[in-house]
């Protein structure tokens, strides 16, 4: 059984950066956004690692369809390309969280459809179940709908292929449990949570192989307009979150424990 796995993933500012919203001529954005270091969205990155792991097992192929501004795509790919083998399909568009998921999904679906020779009968679409920017959990489903795929799974932590071509999926549901489903086979959409794989170490050889395709792909990236005129943002703000922290030190452990227990029981 051979699979083609298309991973959708956008860019987000490095999670450890301070993010300050500000109005721009194109709507809301982040202060010094172009100066901020960016990474592949964390959940999309998990999806990419799972895709590479799966492709290795079935001799499949992985495409990474990534939407972002060219300059940031180029920077981010220097790292991402060293992780796992993939072929990049780049879409040149704003990766801001203050955009609409349906417009982003349209652009991603169009990019997927542009992949030459794509066989949808062996196609799995991977992506993060949410992003660390818009954090809506809505894009992958729309991509699936645009591609006519009605077997969809979100919050996925595991996929197991069966010998008959079917596969089992574990999806996160409420209460810290997984729903177990079996799908008869591709095509399907899987929005990944964290999966079970650690981040792969950088492999310069993989990076060199990937970069042969990555750089031309970025140069040839088609621009997409994802601005939604019907969506209006008001009053985007970072709420005051500074608390007056009371520091309790040089206090005997039993006293601390008593205080915490009283607080827990209130």
């Amino acid at each position: 059984m051979s699979l083609t796995i298309v991973v959708c993933g956008s860019l987000v500012p490095d999670p450890l950066q301070s993010l300050i919203p500000m109005p721009t001529p194109d709507g809301f954005g982040l202060k010094n956004e172009m100066m901020l270091p960016h990474v592949l969205d964390p959940w999309a990155a998990h999806a990419l690692y799972e895709a590479a792991n799966l492709a290795k097992k079935v001799n499949g192929k992985v495409y990474l369809v990534s939407l972002g501004l060219k300059a940031k795509l180029q920077q981010s790919m220097m790292t991402i390309a060293q992780k796992v083998p993939f072929e990049l399909v780049a879409v040149d568009a704003s990766h801001s969280g203050f955009s609409d998921s349906s417009a982003v999904a349209d652009a991603l679906a169009a990019a997927i459809n542009s992949i030459a020779g794509l066989d949808k009968s062996s196609l799995l679409i991977f992506g993060g179940w949410e992003s660390a920017s818009r954090a809506a959990g809505t894009t992958m489903q729309i991509v699936g709908e645009k591609l006519g795929i009605v077997d969809q799974f979100q919050g996925v932590d595991e996929i197991l292929l069966n010998s008959d071509g079917s596969f089992q999926v574990l999806e996160r549901v409420e209460g810290g449990t997984h729903q177990v489903s079996v799908c008869s086979g591709p095509p399907a959409v899987l929005g990944w949570a964290t999966g079970n794989l650690p981040e792969p170490p950088n492999n310069p050889q993989v990076g060199m192989l990937n970069m042969r395709i990555v750089m031309p792909a970025i140069q040839q990236a088609k621009p997409a307009t994802i601005k939604d005129q019907a969506l209006t943002f008001h009053n985007v703000e970072v709420p005051a979150q500074r608390r007056q922290t009371k520091i309790v030190k040089d206090t005997p452990v039993p006293e601390i424990a008593r205080e915490i227990v009283e607080w827990l029981r209130l």
Binding site: V12, P15, L16, L19, S101, S102, A132, S133, R134, A136, G137, T139, Q141, I142, E145, K146, V150, Q152, F153, Q154, D157, R172, V173, E174, G175, G176, T177, H178, Q179, V180, S181, V182, C183, T194, N196, D228, A230, L231, T232, F233, H234, N235, V236, E237, P239, Q241, R243, T245, K246, K249, D250, V253, P254, I256, A257, R258, I260, V261, W263, L264
Partner: protein
């Protein structure tokens, strides 16, 4: 006039969940605030009991096939109800089941979707509140496109008390193409220990410090595991973890055996809602800022009095050895 449709699946017992009833309150407020018509849409294995929990005109789809949570059939049911109701605004609870299909149905109806809604107002038109960049910034948004699909978070509104709905059945055709996925059941990833309790009063966050070398130069992971589990049992708290602690498992290091990615709070984890939070041995931004966004009262136990992430984020920071404090707490909790 706006037509506001409250849309929800029923639970296994045929009732609406508390989350759904809270969302129905949100829908009723939107309808009242906009002067619109409130409609109800329910689907599931059975809907009779749920109809008694709502009020007004209620579109229902009831069949065994809809008892399970599956994208293809859920989307088909939701699409049929939305079309029958002619809704301009669809309000649904942000459950895992709803979140799986809602944006797909919005796409089918050429609508727009917003999720994780944490507040709303109707003055001058509907305005929704939601968070961006992993709960770092809050925005108020409006849309002029319709239909507008909205998924509401839990714990925001009080539960709706209905007088019973007037049923109008909706039919939907399910062919074999929509049944390629079969739901096998549910699986708990933890071995014999239920550590995630969404309804708990307290979130206990365990950081990577629990698995590091202690004052005697040795790690005490087994002791840490016993202390944490004992605390969870006696306090009824839910267990969260920092990313670094969860990642240790994937890297093959000595870890707390019951800790999985499902416990993770923060950037790639959950942002749970609990009245109280107690962080132990945490040294990063994620548990204190992102994962704690919706924790009302926050306390931390940390050996470092200058821990920048606890200071300004927690209400009280206890500078002490978490092993000793939790052991003492467990004794007091009996």
């Amino acid at each position: 006039m706006e037509k506001i449709l409250f849309l929800s699946h029923t639970e296994e017992n045929g009732h609406l969940s508390p989350h759904a009833l809270e969302t129905l309150t949100a829908a009723s407020r939107i309808a009242a605030g906009l002067g619109g018509e409130l409609l109800v849409g329910l689907y599931g294995g059975s809907t009779g009991d749920a109809v008694q929990q709502v009020s007004g005109k209620t579109y229902t789809i009831e069949e065994k096939i809809f008892a399970v949570s599956r994208y293809a059939t859920d989307a088909a049911a939701a699409e049929a109800i939305c079309r029958a109701a002619g809704a301009t605004i669809v309000v649904a609870p942000g459950t895992s089941r709803t979140m799986r299909y809602l944006s797909g149905v919005a796409a089918r109806l050429d609508g727009k979707v917003d999720t994780h809604i944490t507040g709303l107002s109707t003055e001058g038109g509907l305005m929704l509140h939601r968070w961006y960049y992993r709960q770092r910034m809050r925005a108020e948004i409006r849309r002029s496109d319709r239909p507008w699909f909205i998924a509401v978070e839990s714990g925001i509104f009080e539960k709706f008390v209905g007088t019973g709905g007037t049923v109008e059945s909706v039919s939907v055709v399910i062919d074999d193409k929509l049944l390629r996925t079969s739901v096998q059941g549910f699986k708990s990833p933890v071995t014999g220990e239920q550590t995630i309790r969404p309804d708990a009063d307290t979130l206990f966050v365990a950081g990577a410090g629990w698995t590091k070398k202690q004052a005697d130069g040795q790690t005490h992971t087994d002791n840490a595991a016993d202390l944490i589990l004992d605390f969870l049992k006696k306090s009824g708290a839910s267990l969260g973890s920092s990313k670094s602690l969860v990642d240790l498992k994937g890297e093959g290091q000595s870890v707390l055996p019951f800790m999985t990615h499902l416990n993770q709070v923060g950037q790639t984890g959950s942002t749970p809602r609990h009245p109280k939070g107690l962080a132990t041995c945490c040294h990063g931004e994620e548990p204190h800022v992102v994962g704690w966004r919706f924790i009302t009262e926050r306390r931390a136990i940390n050996l470092d009095p200058n821990c920048g992430w606890a200071q300004g984020k927690a209400d009280v920071l206890y500078v002490a050895d978490a092993f000793a404090v939790i052991e003492e707490i467990n004794k007091l909790l009996g």
